[in-house]
């Protein structure tokens, strides 16, 4: 029986293998974060446990009065409207910027580098700031208006969509595009008739996923007073009306689940 390998004795296991280093770093980081907690004062609010109990039991005596239900439904609609409007604006931002940022529209080098660089940077800047921060800034700038909510949602989402679109457009396989070019089509036509249609299913799929996130983002926009489920939730919480809080929470969860299921079904069909 011959040995398969030339080394006759087993190699020693590498101690400083990169994965072990990573695990150590992660563990150390977590412990460091724990140390930053204020361990001297108690973690639980005095009366916190009883509040939790009260809150939990309020689920069983849900507030289903007509008043609450109407508010819930109208707040849900506000949330959905903000999300949809915001997302459509995000598309207007994301598609052009994503197309330019992907670098597939330009050929010559310095134009390409500068245009992709600038757009990529803009997209990154847009999506660095959380939508609620944008919302607060817009409210401070132009006042309490639905447009503020829509803009605050559109900018970061536009940034996210743009980045993903850029990647999807880049990832389109070259072969079909080459055959298009060989028929004498201009670069612009290659994009419209070749690249974009091929990337479109994935783009749509991701956009639908973002819609679900948008619902949640729109819900919390109301923190700055812009109306919607989050706004109603905050009012109910301030009043300690736990049953109402549950109603709004359930509406929110229901809304998210509905959009999630719908978006999953659409995405599955798109990828078939």
């Amino acid at each position: 029986m011959t040995s398969m390998t030339s080394r006759d004795s087993a190699q020693k296991p590498k101690l400083l293998e990169s994965r072990r280093v990573l695990t150590l770093i992660l563990l150390a980081a977590f412990i460091w974060s724990l140390l930053n907690l204020d361990w001297t004062s108690g973690f639980i609010h005095s009366g916190g446990i009883s509040a939790m109990g009260e809150f939990a039991s309020a689920l069983f005596s849900l507030d289903l009065s007509t008043d609450t239900l109407t508010t819930a439904i109208s707040a849900s609609w506000t949330t959905v409207a903000y999300a949809v409007a915001g997302l459509t604006l995000a598309l207007l931002i994301g598609i052009p910027l994503g197309a330019i940022g992907s670098g597939v529209l330009t050929k010559s080098s310095w134009v390409k580098v500068s245009s992709t660089g600038v757009t990529r940077f803009t997209l990154a800047f847009f999506r660095s700031i959380h939508e609620l921060v944008w919302a607060w800034l817009f409210v401070a700038a132009i006042g309490l208006s639905p447009i503020a909510a829509v803009l605050a949602l559109a900018i970061p989402y536009g940034g996210i969509l743009g980045r993903i679109y850029a990647e999807l457009l880049q990832d389109v396989p070259e072969a079909p595009l080459q055959s298009l070019r060989s028929t004498g089509a201009s670069e612009w036509r290659v994009f419209w008739y070749g690249r974009l249609p091929m990337a479109l299913p994935d783009m749509l799929s991701y956009t639908f996923y973002r819609l679900e996130c948008g619902i949640r983002s729109a819900a919390i926009m109301s923190f700055v007073g812009l109306g919607g489920l989050g706004h109603e939730l905050r009012i109910a919480l301030d009043d300690l009306a736990y049953q109402q809080v549950w109603t709004y929470l359930l509406f929110l969860i229901g809304l998210v689940v509905i959009v999630d299921v719908w978006s999953t079904m659409v995405r599955r069909r798109l990828s078939e």
């Binding site: 990573l22 980081a29 973690f43 916190g48 459509t88 132009i142 919480l237 969860i253 078939e272």
Partner: protein, 293 residues
């Protein structure tokens, strides 16, 4: 003639809606929604929205920008004072700690439950002693993921602040809970996509269900899990400022206070720190991600 050698049970035929009709239906619904939403947004509160597109708004916007930059104000802007930098820098540091704590919580939660949320582990081949119990566990775990995920971080924070005293912890728990559902679902999907053959081979060595999970599934799932971990951390650092609105001792807290006192130059300083944090986390995450390969 199809060979069925190696399969354990025939696949049932699934009813699916005719593909074209469903997509078309969805598109039409979307169009209607879009139109209705814009009508609503532009007409809410009477004609107020129309006045947005006016010079008045542009001037307000300009005023706001100059306030942020401290132009035309008598006092020194916050971002020109070293002491302010140090104070807010400490808050940024705390925010970073909170984000790490949050992703840690989320990871622990996800690692504990993700195998119970994987369809192929809980039902079917992997469960020769399959019982209603494990099916129930599966649905419970998946339901847990859905609920924790559906509630936005800020709302979690608003609820948690009733129970936990202000500080880093409520924000971290709120962020952690929301992301636990997301990470959990993503991790379960990793498991569902794994090659079944090594796992089945392990079963034939007499390993129990849990041992197979630990020895066969976990090592294969970890690399991609770590990728998702870093991706969520990048999202968490951006949301950490928002959660701070209801928490204490972090960037968001100061942001809220400064906004309410109209200390706009402090707001600008806080935004700068915020961007520094986001950039640093993005860079760190992309570097650490490479270590996982």
């Amino acid at each position: 003639m199809t060979t069925i050698e190696g399969t354990s049970r025939p696949t049932a035929t699934r009813f699916t809606w005719p593909r074209v009709t469903f997509i078309r239906f969805s598109m039409i619904t979307m169009m209607v929604l879009i139109a209705a939403s814009w009508v609503f947004v532009l007409n809410a509160d009477g004609a107020q929205s129309h006045s947005i597109f006016s010079m008045h708004t542009v001037n307000r916007f300009k005023d706001f920008l100059s306030d942020l930059l401290g132009i035309g104000s008598s006092s020194t802007p916050a971002f020109a004072q070293w002491s302010e930098w140090r104070l807010t820098g400490h808050l940024a540091y705390q925010t970073l700690a909170m984000s790490v704590l949050a992703i840690g919580f989320a990871a622990i939660f996800a690692l504990t439950f993700f195998m119970f949320g994987a369809r192929n582990m809980m039902m079917g081949d992997m469960a020769p002693y399959s019982s209603w119990f494990w099916r129930a566990v599966f649905f419970l775990v998946r339901g847990l993921f859905v609920v924790t995920r559906a509630i936005p971080e800020l709302i979690w924070a608003m609820l948690i602040i009733f129970v936990l005293s202000p500080g880093l912890l409520p924000g971290a728990v709120a962020l952690g809970l929301h992301n636990a559902g997301i990470l959990g679902k993503l991790s379960s999907e990793i498991v569902e996509g794994l090659d079944q053959r090594p796992i089945q081979a392990l079963r034939s060595t007499g390993a129990g269900r849990f041992q197979v999970m630990v020895y066969g599934v976990l090592p294969q799932a970890l690399p991609r899990f770590v990728t998702y971990l870093f991706y969520r951390w990048e999202v968490i650092i951006r949301t950490a400022i928002v959660v701070g609105f209801v928490s204490a001792g972090v960037l968001g807290t100061e942001f809220r206070l400064s906004m309410s006192y109209f200390h706009f130059t402090t707001v600008a300083l806080l935004l700068i720190w915020y961007l520094i944090l986001v950039l640093s986390v993005d860079i760190t995450a992309s570097y650490l991600r490479r270590l996982a390969r």
